[in-house]
């Protein structure tokens, strides 16, 4: 990933963000929601795309972050900025623990192990009413203030979320350009060779999960503050599944893959839902069908994801 190929994406993100000056409240809310999910999918891209581990449990980390945010901000009255590191650290530690099965098993086993973890977290969120409010959830989660300046409107909160996403992406980018990033790629491409070259694959496997989980945990706190209400529903394993597909559809192991994938899985269906044109509403009903079929076709024709299209095109031209 060179700096030159990066700036069109950054400009694109900024342009989309600047449309928030003209959008109505519900659309700005949608952009914030996208940013929140992007924090989680960027974490997942590190785990899945760069370190090559399978994970179907990312929604559980988002949920843990969101509930930590909800509980600490409503029941304990903690400020947003103190909750953020707590959620990140808790998810980091849980991510380390979830990484342990990855040391024993790979691929589909790991997919089901992480999926199992997600189902357990979902059951706990739904059943431990004394803490999580069960299916009723937790309401009235406050929006944060920054140096006494309230970030309570959709517009202000969007810019906070967007800026935080930018910080998170920058940190991940720096991480991936450091020797750590090379170690993650080595772990993905050939773990045995990586180990023979002195890469501690145990530590890097665990950290791949832990860092990915911490990013989702941070996203979770923003989620709680954005929606101002949490219930177990959004943290079902089907969300994990969609996040994994977002990463893979966009292009696993490509820095801007999750950006494209999240547009496909979050933004497009929501825009179709919100539209008043009957034809578009009809499309909304069948959107997931088309999406599922598209995933199958994509795997057949373009296993590297949408962003590998550019590579293939370039390779084709060189070939001629």
């Amino acid at each position: 990933m060179t700096v030159r190929s990066t700036w069109p994406w950054l400009v694109g993100m900024l342009v989309v963000a600047c449309t928030s000056f003209f959008l109505k409240r519900s659309d700005i809310y949608l952009l914030s929601l996208c940013s929140v999910y992007l924090m989680a999918t960027y974490g997942l891209n590190l785990t899945v795309g760069y370190a090559g581990q399978m994970s179907l449990g990312q929604a559980a980390f988002l949920g843990i972050g969101a509930y930590i945010g909800a509980i600490l901000m409503t029941k304990a009255g903690w400020p947003f900025w103190c909750v953020l590191p707590v959620a990140a650290i808790v998810c980091f530690v849980v991510g380390l623990v979830i990484g342990f099965p990855a040391l024993r098993v790979q691929h589909h086993y790991l997919a089901f192990a992480t999926l199992g973890f997600n189902v357990l977290v979902f059951l706990a969120l739904r059943n431990e009413e004394w803490l999580t409010g069960g299916t009723f959830g937790i309401a009235n989660i406050p929006r944060p203030t920054l140096f006494g300046y309230p970030l309570d409107t959709e517009f202000r909160f969007f810019w906070l979320t967007f800026a935080s996403l930018g910080v998170l992406m920058t940190l991940l980018w720096l991480l991936l350009r450091s020797p750590w990033g090379r170690a993650f790629a080595a772990l993905r491409d050939n773990p045995i060779r990586a180990e023979s070259l002195g890469v501690n694959i145990t530590a890097y496997t665990l950290f791949a999960f832990a860092i990915g989980a911490a990013a989702a945990g941070i996203g979770g706190v923003y989620y709680a503050s954005l929606v101002q209400f949490v219930e177990p529903g959004p943290f079902h394993f089907s969300t994990s599944l969609m996040m994994l597909l977002a990463v893979i559809v966009g292009g696993a192991g490509r820095f801007f893959g999750p950006l494209l994938g999240t547009v496909v899985i979050i933004l497009l269906p929501e825009l179709l839902r919100a539209s008043t044109v009957p034809a578009l509403q009809f499309m909304q009903k069948w959107y997931l069908v088309a999406f599922g079929v598209a995933v199958v076709l994509l795997m057949v024709w373009l296993p590297g994801g949408l962003l590998s299209l550019g590579d293939r095109w370039r390779r084709g031209r060189v070939g001629q």
Partner: protein, 291 residues
């Protein structure tokens, strides 16, 4: 005591349903190297198939046969030709992702095209209970146990005692060697896909009366099937059986004695323990790790 025996019996009955779905899973993995994440939807679709047939006035047995035929064509042959054959050369993960996509497509098709509601489904067995040696048993449990058990035994006999069955096992063990011996590998692999489709329809017949026909009913059954397969040992057909029954019984016991809310978590915890301490499964042999 009698309630304990009842829990065990109905647990084994439920477990044998899981085992049926898990059996298809392991067969596909052994013979074709396919992990089917849409296995749950392979059960859900026939359930709706039978529901639609019955709504056209067919008796249940006819609906079952018609659905079997359609399932063999679509979920057996069609699945193999349209999805597995083009993808198998890319390795396990693209196929896993493709079957995840397939599962989303199948669920959303039923939800958007048919209904998002849960539909009751007639049990193939009579209602009511009977007492045997002081233990009350329901006809449905016993019938499920007999039918599922019978199918598993028949399948084992087919795999171990017939020429075709042994040829299929040979393909599962070493496709190249089997080809050298003159076995038609492609045909044997196709048979496995057809058997998987039929097993899915039988699973649907047995499980839908309790689960109800709903677009997302496959989530639970697909997971249980996979967990059962792993717990028992992925490279052993007997393993699927043991895993399924173990999950069914433990779920019943935990649901009754410990906490009904966490009944769904039993399979997961068991599964996590197995992959941490004996990743090849309880009955499985460890496979050579390929570099």
């Amino acid at each position: 005591m009698s309630e304990f025996v009842q829990l065990i019996v109905s647990g084994i009955a439920t477990g044998s349903i899981y085992a049926l779905a898990a059996l298809g899973f392991t067969l596909l993995w052994q013979a074709a190297g396919v992990i089917n994440f849409a296995q749950g939807e392979f059960v859900m679709l026939p359930a709706f198939g039978m529901l639609i047939c019955v709504s056209f006035g067919m008796p249940l047995w006819l609906a079952f046969l018609v659905t079997c035929a359609v399932a063999m064509l679509v979920l057996g042959w069609g699945f193999k030709v349209a999805i597995v054959d083009p993808l198998i050369r890319h390795g396990v993960i693209p196929l896993v992702i493709a079957t995840l996509g397939l599962s989303i497509a199948a669920k959303s098709t039923v939800r958007a095209g048919y209904s998002a509601l849960a539909f009751p489904f007639a049990s193939p067995f009579p209602e009511g209970q009977f007492a045997l040696a002081g233990v009350t048993l329901s006809y449905a449990d016993v019938g499920t146990l007999v039918l599922a058990g019978g199918i598993v035994v028949a399948l084992q006999a087919f795999l171990n005692r017939t020429v075709t069955g042994r040829a299929m096992q040979a393909v599962a063990q070493n496709a190249d060697a089997a080809r050298v011996l003159g076995i038609d590998v492609k045909r044997m692999v196709l048979y496995v896909f057809l058997i998987n489709a039929v097993l899915a329809v039988v699973t649907a017949l047995l499980v839908t009366p309790t689960y109800l026909a709903k677009f997302d009913m496959g989530d639970a059954i697909g997971q249980k099937a996979f967990f059962a397969a792993i717990i028992g040992g992925f490279n052993q057909t007997r393993g699927a059986l043991l895993g399924g029954v173990l999950i069914g019984v433990l779920e019943n016991l935990v649901g009754f004695y410990v906490s009904p809310e966490y009944k769904e978590g039993v399979a997961l915890v068991l599964f996590l323990f197995v992959i941490l301490f004996k990743p090849e499964g309880l009955l499985g042999r460890s496979e050579e790790r390929k570099v």
